[in-house]
Symmetry: C2
Subunit: 639 residues, 2 copies
C-alpha cells in the first residue's frame, strides 16, 4: 500500500494529466505537463496513456505494442517468428501451418515485418484488425485486436519474396502490396509478359508486380489479382476521399538495374497511378492468365489496365496521402526534394492527356501540371499528417523532421504560406519512418509525433557493438515541438500506427471463452499410428494428468485446456530434455505436438510463477523403449 | 536542434540528477529528484543512469539489459533462443554448435533462463562476465560484457534438465548449480547410489544432484563434479566471508514425492550445508564413478562428503546470504516464515555435533542453536541486501516487500531491533524475485530496489489475454520507500543483477577488430562436396559480390566481413525465399550456412537502414538446377 502522504502526492499528480495542460506556446520550466511524477502513483502509466502504438518489429518478425505517451512496451505480437514468451511456437500445429511455405513445405521461423496497417472504415481506424507485411518472404498477416494475436498468414503467390509497400483501401476491403525485389518468375508469366520486358535469368533485368488482396467481412484474406510489369515498386498507398478508387506507388529503380550504382542513373524516377476499377475490369473481362502454382490468382499485364506514371525526385521512398485524400507527397531519398502531387490536377491531366511521353506504353504525366517541390533538407524519407493541416517529413541525413504547412484548403486553417516549413524538430538520429496517431488516415488524431530513428549512437548507455533503436516522442501541439521521451527498441522497427485507446478496448478480450464441456483428462494410445494423445487441464497449481507414459519414437499430441477464468492467470508447459515450451492463457485450449525421441523421465513444469505452489506445479512424461513397452504401461493402467 | 529556450530548460534539468537530491526523509510534492524533465534533453537517460540491470528472460531464453533508474531496455542478449534482431541464428555454425544437444544431436532453439550471475572478485562484482542457467535443459551460458554476447554454453552431463539454483563462488572460480527436477539417471549412477535411495522408473521417487563447474581464468567452463543423493534441490548460494568454503541450498520436496500435494506433507523441509573441500577431497581420493555419457565428470555419492541438513519452514524457496557472509535467510514460500541462520552458530553446532537426528546418513542440525524466525507476511519468496544492514524480503501473497533490519553486527549501524520490519513497500503484484544492485555480494550498492512482480493485472493498458510483467523501481534511501517507475517486460523474468555503469564500461567494446588482411570477395566451388563458399564484404551501401550463382541442392557458406569501423554501423543479410537473416556488426566477421534447396533468383538485402542508399543495398543469389549447371555459370566466369 502507498502511505497516506504518498497517496496525496499521487492524487495531485493524477489531476495534472498530460492532456490537460498543453497550450500552443513554448513550455516554460516548472510547467511540466509530461514530467513524470515522483513518487509515482500506481496506475499512472495506464491512466495517462491515450494511444496504442503498433510498431513493426523488423527482424523481430512481429509487432511491438506500446502506450503513448508512456512509451512503455505492453506486448509483442509474434507473427513470422517463434516466441515462447508470447505463446507462439511451432509445436502448436495451427502456428506451424501458418508458418509453412506452401511452395517448398519448409517451416520458416523468421521474417522481416515492415508496414503495420490498421483496419479502417471510411478511411478512419476502426480498431478491429491489424495487418502487416513480411518483406523477406512476401507474406501478409492479420492480427485480431480483441486478443492481440495473429489469426492468419497469407503467402503471396508467384513470387519468392521482397514485398515492401503495403496499404489498405478506405474500408479494408482491399489491401495493396508491392513487390520491391524484382524476380524472374515462372515461365507462364515470362511468356505472358512477352519479349518487350526483355528479361534474363543471369543478367537481368527482371519484372515485378503489385497485388490486391480481398478481405472478407470476417477478415479472411485472398489474393484477388496481380498486375505484372517491367518495374519494381517500393512504397504504396491506396487512396481515399479525392483519390478513392486509385492507388499509387513509388519505383526507385526505373533504370531496371541489378546493382546499386545502376539504380541511381536516372535523375528522376516515377510515382505510378493505378486505377483499381480498370484492374477489376481486366479480371472480369478474362484478360489474365493463371499459373500452375496459383490457379486461382489472375496474373494481369500492366498494359491491360489503366496506369500512369508521374516523374518524381531521384530514387523516391516515402509516399503518403493527406487526410483529404487530395495530396500525395513523395520524397527523393537521395536528394533534398519532396514532391507534392495534387490528385485533382492529376485527374485533370489524365483527362486532358497532358502527357510528356510514355515508357513501356505507360503515359507519363507532365509534372508541371500536377506537382511542386519542397526543397528543405537532405535525405527525406517518410511523411505523416496531423489534423491541423501540417505534414511531418523525416530526413535521414539532416536527422530532423520538418513540419510543413499543406496547401489549399488547409492554408485557411493554418494560415501559413502553403508548403512552408513551420518547425524543425531534432531527431537522434537519421529518421526512417515517423508516426502521428491516425496520420495515414482521413482522421489524424495529432497531438504526438513518434520519430523512428535508424541510428541511435550515443543516446543510451553502452551495450556492445549491436545498438538498439530509438523512438522519440514529441509534443506537436507546441512550436517548437518539445521532446517528451526517448524509447529504446530492439532493431529494427519500421513503420508504426497509433490509435486511441478506446477504439481498441471496445473490442478487448481478457480471457478466452471456456468450452461448454470441459475435456476429461486422460491418455489415448493409437498403436496403428504410433501416437499418444494426452488430454490435459491446468489450473493453479496442477496439471491433470501429472504423469503419462509413451513408447519411444511415438508422436505425442498434448491437448491442454487452461480452466482459469481470471485475467493474467496464464500457465506454461515446458518439457525438460525437449524443445517444447508454450503458454496457455486463461480459458485457452492449445495443442502441442512433438515426437518422443529419447527415453527417460522428463518433467513438464509451469513456466509462470502462478501461485506459492508454482514450483510444485509439474508432471512427468515417461518415455519407454518400444521393445520394453506393454499395454500394462498405459496411463490408465498405472494411474 | 533544440531551441535556445529548450536548451536552457534542459541544462537546468541536468543539474538535478537523481543522485544529488535524495534525503532520508519522506519526499514532498514539488521536490522531485526522479521526476522526468519536460522538455527532455537529449542524452538525459544515458547521463542519469547509474546501474546496468541484467535480468533473466525466462521463456525469452536470454537476458534483458536495462538502465537504472531510466528503466529503458538497452539490449537483449540471446543465448538459448534464436533472435535475428540481436544477431543470433542457427545459420551461424558457431551458434548452432552451442545450441546442439550433445546427447541427442538435436538443435534446441528455446530455453528458460533463471538466475543471472555476475562474475566477481573477493565476492564483489568485477564487470567481466555474466553467467546464467537454463532451467528446462540444464545448461549454463557465459556472456562477455565487453561485447554483450554469449561466448559459451555448457550442457550439464548425466541429467535431462531441470536446473534451478545457480550461484558463483567469491572469485568465480567455481559455479554451483542445483538440479531441481529429480531424475531417473543412467544405470551406472543408480547402481552406485544403491538400494538405499529406493528409486523406481514409474512410481518414483527419483534422485538428483548438485554440481560444481570450474571457471578457467579465460572464462572457459568445465564440470568439476556432481554430487548425487536422494533429494532434489531448489535454490543455491555459494558462501563468502564467514561462509567461505561452503555452499547452501534449499530442498522443498524432502518428502521425495512425485505429485504436488505430496510435496507439502512435511511441516518443515531442509536447508543443506555442503563443504566444498570435502567434495574436492572425494575427487582427489577417487571416491567417485564416471558414466559412459560423461567419462570426465566425477559422480560422487552424497554419503562420501561432508553434508548437513538444517530444518527450514515448509517448502522453502529463496535462500540468500548477507554481505558479511554470516547470515543466510530462507523463506518458506507456503508459510509466513523466513528463517535466519547464523553461519557462525552453524559451524559451532557442527563442531559440537549438536544434531537432532539424521536422514539418509546426513546429520540434522538442531535449529534452536542456529536460527530464528521472522514471522511477517504470507508467501515469502526471495531476499536481497543493501549496504546499510537491511534485507528486503518479497511476499507473493501479500504483494509487498518488507524491509527488515539485520542482526549483529548490523544493529550497531542501523540502530533497530534485530530482525524487525522497518518498512513495507507495496508491489503490483505478487513478488517473485527482487534486486538491489550488488545485493547478493559482499558490497551492495543499495540505493534502488527492483521488485520483479509475477502478476501485473491492471498495471498497464489492456493488451489481450497474455499479460506482460512489471518491474518496479523503488528508492530505498527513503522511508517509506517511494515508487520511482514501473517497467513492463515480456513474460517471465526471474532474478536480476544490478552493477554500476563504470564497472561494465571499463571493458566495453563498440566495434570488433578488423582482421589485419581483409578477405578478397569471391566464390569458390567445391564440386566434390557440393559446396559453394562465398567470401563477401559489406559496407554502406554495397555487398561485394552483389551476385553469385550456385547449383541447386548445394551447401552455401557465406563468409561476411563488415568492414565498417563506426559505432552503430551494423549491416544485415536477409535472403528472400529462404529462412536466413542475420546481422553483422561493425568490424565483425560472420559465417552463414544453408542449403540452396530451391531454384530461382533470390535477393539478399541489408536489414538496416544504414544510409540513403539502403534500399539499393542488395544482391542476388541465382540457384540453377544441377542438370543445367555448367562451369561457365560460375561467378568468376560471369562477373
Ligand atoms: Cu502455473
Ligand atoms: Cu546496410
Amino acid at each position: 500500500m502507498l502511505s497516506g502522504a504518498a497517496l496525496a502526492v499521487s492524487a495531485a499528480a493524477l489531476l495534472c494529466l498530460p492532456s490537460c495542460e498543453q497550450g500552443s506556446s513554448a513550455p516554460s520550466a516548472g510547467a511540466s505537463p509530461f514530467a513524470r511524477p515522483f513518487p509515482m502513483p500506481h496506475g499512472y502509466w495506464k491512466k495517462t496513456d491515450e494511444f496504442y502504438c503498433f510498431a513493426s518489429g523488423g527482424q523481430q518478425g512481429g509487432i511491438y505494442v506500446y502506450g503513448m505517451p508512456s512509451m512503455k512496451l505492453l506486448s509483442e505480437i509474434p507473427i513470422f517468428n517463434v516466441d515462447p514468451r508470447w505463446g507462439w511456437t511451432t509445436a502448436n500445429p495451427e502456428v506451424r501451418e501458418m508458418m509453412t511455405n506452401p511452395r517448398t513445405g519448409e517451416v520458416l521461423i523468421s521474417g522481416d515485418t515492415h508496414h503495420p496497417v490498421l483496419s479502417r472504415k471510411d478511411a478512419k481506424y476502426d480498431g478491429k484488425w491489424l495487418f502487416i507485411n513480411d518483406k523477406r518472404n512476401a507474406r501478409i498477416a492479420r492480427m485480431n485486436l480483441a486478443t492481440f494475436r495473429t489469426e492468419e498468414i497469407l503467402w503471396m503467390e508467384n513470387v519468392p519474396g521482397g514485398m515492401h509497400g503495403f496499404s489498405s483501401g478506405p474500408n479494408t476491403e482491399l489491401l495493396i502490396g508491392n513487390i520491391e525485389l524484382e524476380s524472374y518468375p515462372a515461365k507462364e508469366i515470362r511468356d505472358y509478359l512477352g519479349a518487350e520486358v526483355d528479361i534474363d535469368l543471369i543478367k537481368g533485368p527482371y519484372v515485378s508486380c503489385v497485388f490486391g488482396v480481398k478481405v472478407a467481412p470476417d477478415g479472411t484474406m485472398k489474393t484477388a489479382w496481380q498486375v505484372w510489369g517491367p518495374w519494381q515498386y517500393d512504397l504504396a498507398r491506396a487512396g481515399w476521399g479525392e483519390s478513392d478508387g486509385w492507388f499509387i506507388n513509388t519505383a526507385y529503380n526505373t533504370e531496371r538495374s541489378v546493382n546499386t550504382v545502376g539504380m541511381f542513373k536516372r535523375p528522376e524516377d516515377y510515382v505510378f497511378y493505378w486505377n483499381i476499377a480498370s484492374i477489376e475490369k481486366a479480371v472480369a473481362d478474362g484478360k489474365f492468365i493463371t499459373t500452375e502454382e496459383a490457379p486461382d490468382v489472375p496474373v494481369i499485364k500492366w498494359s491491360d489496365i489503366e496506369l500512369y506514371a508521374a516523374p518524381c525526385p531521384l530514387n523516391p521512398h516515402g509516399l503518403d496521402i493527406d487526410p483529404t485524400g487530395r495530396y500525395a507527397l513523395s520524397s527523393g531519398k537521395a536528394t533534398t526534394l519532396v514532391r507534392h502531387y495534387d490528385f485533382r490536377k492529376v485527374m485533370k491531366a489524365i483527362e486532358e492527356q497532358n502527357f510528356i511521353g510514355e515508357e513501356f506504353g505507360v503515359p507519363i504525366i507532365d509534372k508541371e501540371a500536377i506537382s511542386g517541390d519542397i526543397d528543405t533538407g537532405l535525405g527525406p524519407t517518410h511523411i505523416e499528417y496531423d489534423n491541423e493541416g501540417y505534414c511531418y517529413i523525416g530526413f535521414f541525413v539532416d536527422s530532423d523532421v520538418k513540419k510543413v504547412a499543406l496547401g489549399d484548403p488547409w492554408d485557411k486553417k493554418h494560415g501559413h504560406e502553403p508548403w512552408s516549413v513551420v518547425d524543425t524538430i531534432p531527431a537522434h538520429y537519421s529518421v526512417g519512418h515517423l508516426m502521428v496517431p491516425g496520420g495515414d488516415s482521413a482522421e489524424p488524431y495529432g497531438k504526438y509525433l513518434v520519430i523512428m530513428n535508424k541510428l541511435t549512437k550515443d543516446t543510451f548507455l553502452h551495450h556492445g557493438p549491436l545498438i538498439c533503436e530509438n523512438h522519440e516522442l514529441y509534443d506537436i501541439e507546441t512550436v517548437p515541438a518539445p521532446l517528451i521521451d526517448q524509447m529504446s527498441l530492439p532493431p529494427e522497427s519500421h513503420y508504426a500506427q497509433g490509435i486511441p485507446v478506446s477504439l481498441v478496448t471496445q473490442h478487448a478480450k481478457s480471457v478466452y471463452d471456456l468450452p461448454s464441456t470441459l475435456p476429461t483428462p486422460g491418455v489415448a494410445y493409437d498403436y496403428d499410428n504410433k501416437k499418444a494423445t494426452v488430454t490435459m487441464t491446468c489450473v493453479r497449481s496442477f496439471f491433470t494428468p501429472d504423469m503419462f507414459t509413451v513408447p519411444q519414437g511415438w508422436d505425442v499430441d498434448v491437448q491442454i485446456q487452461n480452466v482459469e477464468m481470471s485475467l493474467d492467470m496464464t500457465h506454461g508447459w515446458a518439457l525438460t530434455g525437449y524443445d517444447v515450451m508454450e503458454s496457455i492463457d486463461p480459458g485457452e485450449h492449445k495443442t502441442l505436438q512433438f515426437k518422443a525421441t529419447h527415453e527417460g523421465v522428463f518433467w513438464y513444469y509451469c513456466l509462470w510463477f502462478c501461485s506459492e505452489l508454482h514450483m510444485e506445479m509439474r508432471g512427468r512424461m515417461i518415455v519407454i523403449p518400444e521393445a520394453e513397452w506393454t499395454p500394462e504401461l498405459e496411463w490408465s493402467a498405472l494411474k
